[in-house]
């Protein structure tokens, strides 16, 4: 939350200087509705999107992924157990890959729980969702979280600093969320929306419109590039004493 506020503050001057921000204030109630995506509040998907997916589920999964991603390599290095681990006949690349697989498995498991929870218990509360749409939303959520976790893993692989890895990944994911959310309100930001992986993962309202393969592919590709960077950077470094 500290990072959230920080990023908000950091963005304030740019927002302030923007003429459309004045309009935003005039249109406050409507803008708020858009920011938190409460346009379809009365329908099942609309309610769920607002309450769960527009914030809570991605937030929790991303936090989990960032904590894990920063801890798996950088945490092990800070706790100095990496010396014993790498005394074994395993390459550093393999270590990074296996750490990432552990991260992906964790995120995957959480996502399955989320999907089952909403898909099975939802109807009890008169939330009738298509499995396909729900899966699309959960996959988007999982990929966005995995992106945050992989970024933290890569930063940790590069620097060995766990705290910094967390900070960077948190700042980037929050900034992407804000960019995507504000782009609904500030037309000037609209042309930059593509830079937000949140937009690619969850921006197309998958809970009503289903899978958007191209957009999901973009997120997956960024994850792949980060993982590649993590292996290369970790392979090159002196491990801290």
């Amino acid at each position: 939350m500290a990072f959230f506020s920080l990023v908000m503050l950091a963005m304030f001057p740019t927002i302030h200087a923007n003429a459309s921000f004045a309009k935003l204030i005039e249109a406050y109630p409507e803008a708020l509705r858009k920011l938190f995506d409460i346009s379809n509040y009365t329908t099942g998907p609309g309610y769920l999107r607002t309450e769960v997916f527009s914030f809570m589920a991605p937030l929790l999964i991303t936090i989990y992924a960032i904590l894990q991603g920063s801890d798996l390599l950088a945490g092990e290095e800070e706790r100095r157990t990496i010396d014993l681990l790498l005394a074994n006949p395993v390459s550093r690349r393999r270590v990074v890959m296996e750490k990432w697989l552990a991260l992906a498995t964790g995120v995957g498991a959480l996502s399955v729980v989320l999907e089952l929870l909403l898909g099975l218990i939802g109807p009890l509360f008169r939330l009738h969702l298509g499995w396909r749409q729900l899966s699309a939303e959960v996959l988007g959520t999982a990929l966005f979280g995995l992106f945050g976790g992989t970024l933290a893993l890569a930063w940790g692989a590069w620097t060995g600093a766990r705290g910094a890895a967390r900070g960077v990944a948190a700042a980037v994911t929050v900034a992407m969320y804000l960019l995507s959310a504000l782009a609904q309100l500030v037309s000037a930001l609209g042309s930059f929306e593509w830079a937000s992986l949140w937009y690619h993962a969850l921006g197309g309202d998958p809970l009503t419109t289903g899978f958007h393969y191209w957009h999901l592919g973009v997120v997956a590709m960024v994850i792949g590039v980060l993982l590649l960077a993590a292996t290369l950077l970790f392979d090159r470094r002196d491990l801290t004493t």
Binding site: R80, T81, D83, L84, A87, N88, P89, S91, D238
Partner: protein
Amino acid sequence: METATDTTVDQSVAISLDHVTKIYRGGGGVYELSLDIAVGEVFGFLGPNGAGKTTTIRLILDLIRPSSGRIRVFGLDSRTDSVAIRRRVGYLPGELALYERLSARQILTHFAHLRGGLDWKKVEHYVEAFDLDVDRPVRSLSRGNRQKVGLVAAMMGDPEFLLLDEPTSGLDPLVQRTVQSEVRRAAREGRTVLLSSHVLSEVGEVADRVGLIREGRLIDIESVAQLQGHAAHLVEVRFRGPTDVQTFISLPGVLSHRVDDRSLHLEVAGDLNPIVALLARYDLEDLSIREPTLEELFMRFYGVSDG
């Protein structure tokens, strides 16, 4: 798999450092280390704090990379063949850290698995030798018991090359003895050992040769016999009555002397019997005979001192 088999590689050399330099950002490190250790040899790395022992050992394992120079272990390059090297090396870190939430058994099983599976019976030998309780979580173990976990992890595969960074730190004398006997057994079986320490007597117990390292430089390599020849005893005597200091100074083996107050300080190399016989004729208030500390040894023979 086999990279450019170097025909010049001597099969009897376990490890060879060739002008290895590592300079950290702060300026510390090791400089131009060159050293060959033979297969089956026990080599002791002896040096004060910050000398560069840990740095050298971590360079061998490719945990850090040299600024220049080359390291080969069994003819394999430390940079390009690190995995193959580590398959044959058992390592005990100087600043040992273990997975706190796991038990020794879980840690050892995990590492055995990473080594492609080990016979638990082999592991059991070391567990018993070190009298280790493998089922308690590491977080509840004392410092000495943690060290035992590290030692078992390093030794359990009977590796061809044991790399032990200050293996006896934190251990009581009995367990130190166990470490020494395991090191000797490894050498008897033709395996190679490199161990570091800042205690001369400890290295002297097991090593064939000793490398003296200080401020990142290898000052000298000597056999333990040579080193112990150098290692004069320091005798400090306080007399009750008057004394003829001259008779002490002229004894064979007395390298230097110093008189202050009523105390006589002597540095005696070799046989201690003559001086003990002479001392018996006097009325002594106090007597101490000890080995020189590492620093005193460095000062005496290499003309260097701290600071």
